[in-house]
Symmetry: C2
Subunit: 334 residues, 2 copies
């Protein structure tokens, strides 16, 4: 059985999206929606695994993430946006897949081990957080996803997913699910404003798509440059200089950027002047996104209607998948 | 909020039911259905946790268990019989409850520890088997169950369930679920025909409700009596003598039984004569059940219709429960 090329990707609605999301995934989605059938999941249940005591936050961020999607030109005519908790078939599949994974195998998943260590759960790690890789496989397979954009660090998740695909198809003797191909993005991560490896809400080093021009300016002014570049006339380093990292990504005028780099390296270009250029570049980039987002934010009902339509369309696909699963597992009685 | 008294009980459809099920639970259900609202779950997904590679067996035993229920006079007008896999809300609740339990707490559950040891899973214990206590809480709470008939050994399961009830009600700030009361049955277990503590399909020491009179006779003839009772004229022991254990439970003529015991203890009553009495008693007990079961087995569509109606009624209840859960967890968007 040939499986169609279908993308599943998405986000946890635990906060608005930032430039790191844009560079790492949103830009890809906008491009890929013209090439493939694409589903984007707003994974509210997954957000609840570590926000279970703050459901209002998760609820409110569903709209924020929806606004971000439409603002960056994810096109609902091309991309199906849906909310995880509204698709009961995902929970059903997750429960079924849990029989196909040993607890020992799950505990060996390096992505999960790293996250559990990072979040400093210790003994308090919940069952929900532990099993989320299986839940995530259900997210993908419920829409028959076969392509999943990931960072390098998430490759073990794809391997675990494919073990489930192979086990299911073998045990129930029907190639219902196709193996999942990871799509590794070239620029998978954007450095945070503090120079740390990853822009992230929890590290407080993020520039949001919804930040105003003033806030962007303030955040850029705090950015990490070359700590040895003390006086304007000193030569400065470009490598590892976060401002240049951002300019590399966002400045459309590559010739002018090359000129700036040379000027900085030989001395005479101050950090403030450099940052002003980045503020200009970022705000030029963000202006159309912000304008569209502000317009959309005036009509949240429209945004939720788009998400509702995507969710209803996904439920139809999910119901078909679940019917096939019921058939091969003999869970059809009536 | 006062919670109604609602019973949730049921079986895994991994084989037909036996006398141990009758004594331990079916007889209670027939009695309790006149006193309480009662739901009986045919837990096919739970049966799949250790039969995931044999779905046909689980499928076929749903009908067998349905036949057993109706044959012992579980009355579908009084008791709602439903199939677990047909209620997606159970999977949804299970996924949600997994956030309220730590992995460490789950691993400490003595009932689960014992079962994992008994089944000799070792490293191969699946995630599905590990999390089934949480899945079971979802079975109970999806119908707002507040009374669960259990054996003493299952009390830790009820305690774990009530931890989830309390956590959920506290975190989401609404007393949606009532605490669960265990109902410990007086005769919770019937010894197997081999004299071992528990009658069980896997131990091969069971007399099934569907066994013919001949098979019952053969099984009784192999039963464990008093190993020191070698000749008819020798005095024999009543205590620990499985044949007497069964007569104590099933012989309606308690005076005659007392006579038999005295005769056996003073000597002169042979094991064959004693077993013939038990065969007579068991077949007299099983005859009406078998007759009804044979009649019903001619019309499996009727049995499945009864189960279907129960399942549809349960879905209505489950949908209401899930709506309340969605409301308090802010998982309502449209």
């Amino acid at each position: 059985m040939e499986h169609a090329k279908i993308i599943l990707t998405g986000d946890r609605p635990s906060g608005p999206l930032h430039l790191g999301h844009y560079v790492g995934s949103l830009a890809n989605r906008v491009r890929l929606q013209h090439e493939f059938k694409q589903f984007v999941i707003i994974a509210d249940l997954q957000a609840l695994t570590d926000n279970y005591d703050n459901p209002q936050k998760v609820h409110d961020n569903v709209l924020q993430v929806g606004l971000d999607y439409l603002a960056v030109e994810i096109n609902p005519k091309k991309t199906t946006i849906f909310i995880q908790s509204q698709i009961p078939e995902i929970a059903e599949l997750a429960i079924i897949f849990m029989n196909l994974v040993t607890l020992a195998r799950l505990a060996r998943n390096p992505t999960v081990k790293t996250e559990i260590a990072q979040k400093d759960f210790g003994e308090s790690v919940t069952v929900g957080f532990t099993v989320y890789p299986i839940h995530q496989v259900a997210d993908i397979l419920v829409v028959k996803g076969t392509i999943v954009p990931v960072g390098e660090d998430q490759l073990p998740m794809i391997e675990q997913a494919n073990e489930i695909v192979r086990s299911f198809n073998r045990i129930y003797n029907q190639p219902i699910f196709g193996e999942i191909q990871p799509l590794i993005s070239a620029v998978s991560r954007l450095t945070g404003t503090d120079g740390k490896a990853k822009m992230s809400k929890s590290l407080g080093n993020a520039i949001y798509l919804s930040d105003s021009a003033d806030i962007v300016a303030k955040k850029v002014m705090t950015m990490y440059t070359d700590p040895d570049h003390l006086r304007v006339q000193d030569p400065g380093k470009v490598e590892g200089n976060t401002v240049f990292t951002y300019l590399d990504v966002f400045d459309p005028d590559k010739a002018a950027l090359q000129g700036l780099k040379e000027h900085y390296m030989r001395g005479g270009l101050g950090d403030v002047a450099l940052k002003k250029r980045l503020i200009e570049v970022l705000n030029a980039f963000l202006d159309p996104i912000r304008t569209k987002r502000e317009q959309l934010a005036k009509d949240p009902a429209y945004v939720m209607q788009v998400v509702k339509e995507g969710t209803l369309a996904t439920r139809e696909v999910a119901a078909k998948t679940m019917q096939q699963v019921r058939d091969v597992m003999k869970l059809n009685y009536f």
